[in-house]
Amino acid sequence: MAPSNGLKRVDVIFGAYASTKYLILQKSIRREKQEIIQDIIDSGLRGRGGAGFPTGLKWKFAAAQPGNEKYVICNADEGEPGTFKDREILMKVPQKMISGMAICAYVIGATKAYIYLRGEYQFMVPDLQMELDNFHEQAREMNFDLTIELRMGSGAYVCGEETALIESMEGKRGEPRNKPPFPVVEGFHGKPTVVNNVETFVNANMICRIGVEEFIKLGTQDSRGSKLFSISGDTPKAGVHELELGMKLSDFVAEFGDDDTKAVQVGGAAGFCVPRKKFDSTIIGFEGMPTGGSMMLFNSSRSMYHVLHNYLEFFEEESCGQCTPCRVGCQQLLLGIEAIKRQERPASYLNQLLKLSETMKIASKCGLGQSVANSFSSIVENYVEEMIY
């Protein structure tokens, strides 16, 4: 097992300063683009939305694409149940995110960028728009050509998947596309597009401010940097906390649990449920259990059947519905556990459903479809008795 990091609180995302003058951007656009890309690659930064793709590579691919019509999109469609860290960034330090977007636009050669904001965050629009107005003014003064537009979602979880998000921005149903081609090659309007999470852009901005060396001091070999965690459920410390990656889950629970933690759902409804007996052997980070930052804690008063039921109801509603494994699979998992509970199907039917969850993981069309069964398999495997009785 990789050595864990212990639990270390950091305060770089909300701490330090957020420049309304966009000083980091000013500094960055005087640097060589390749140099910035190399910094992001060397930093080991990986996407903070959950999938964890190396950010520097994404930027490099997009920068290498021919043509001058390219786009940067900030994925602010924070819809994963139990996730709310982007909300805090958007409300408190939007400058850092905007600055990160602008640096990305600079290095890949885009002059148009978008923030795709979930419909549930409509209330932020006036403040965000004000900050964007400020940004545009600052950009003009720097002679930096970039327009950033806000686009709203309208209540569709799957639009957090980057190609679904692009479809939605194009005015269509938010259905994920076939990949390849990837957005860095054919994205918005068929042009090279970088889609990154809110927090990823903040991190990129941070790397440009503090430099690679400082950044890689945070986290572990495989999980560089800090991470915002959205902590909720049975915890006295619900809220957004910035921690270094690479900690043991047991350290996390010691800090945030209520002394009766039974399970932690890591990564939201599409993530994994870790039972108490595995807290000590679970590392939160890319070497262990990667996460977009949602940590839902459940104490022993909670029924894991009930938890799973809630997740499955969510997925059967929020699956885009286009591919068979996800559309039908989610419904079957839900109907299946209900049928077992009512003793209309034997307990052994759980095995069939576990097989189904495997099929969903390998045969669904998009990353979300491939992860919707994670909670099912991890909860059923660890709490089989709660499913049956």
Partner: protein, 164 residues
């Protein structure tokens, strides 16, 4: 029809007539009309040179683009697991009790529609709800009484918002 046509045209003038302008247009119609009516969708289709079915198919994908009429204030109570754990049921019961409607219904005066919705991004402050775009968190049945009274009295009230 006669009123919706110039309105939709003005929206198309404002946002544009490309396919990518469809969602912003539909979003604004819902915000002002509280519904995407058949006539509105037909007019949007005309302006953007789409088929009406395409407009409907796109709108129906998005939970917030309702094609059945909603009240002036749409209450969306978060139904995530954490919300359930923190007492969502009491909140919904209280709302049903005050408004005298069930989830999914609209008050006869057309002021309130009560819905449940998926995670709205306030799991650290459950139970939570949106009234139109405005979030309310750390809800209790007592707070619900005050909040709804505020809307019943005079539209929006700012006193109960819980944003740090």
């Amino acid at each position: 029809m006669n009123q919706i046509q110039p309105y939709v045209r003005s929206l198309a003038d404002k946002y544009g007539r490309e396919r990518e302008c469809l969602l912003p247009i539909l979003q604004e119609i819902v915000a002002t009309e509280h519904v995407l009516s058949q006539d509105a969708m037909v007019e949007v289709a005309k302006e953007l040179n789409l088929s009406a079915a395409e407009v409907y198919g796109t709108a129906s994908f998005y939970s917030f683009l309702n094609t059945k009429p909603h009240g002036k204030y749409v209450i969306r109570v978060c139904k995530s697991i954490v919300a359930e754990m923190k007492g969502k049921k009491e909140i919904v019961d209280k709302l049903c009790d005050i408004l005298k409607i069930r989830v999914g219904e609209t008050t006869p005066d057309g002021r309130f529609t009560l819905l449940e919705t998926n995670d709205i991004g306030w799991s650290d402050q459950e139970p939570s709800m949106l009234i139109n775009e405005k979030p309310y968190t750390y809800l209790t049945p007592e707070k619900i009484v005050q909040i709804i009274a505020g809307y019943q009295a005079n539209g929006k009230s700012n006193n109960h918002q819980q944003i740090n």
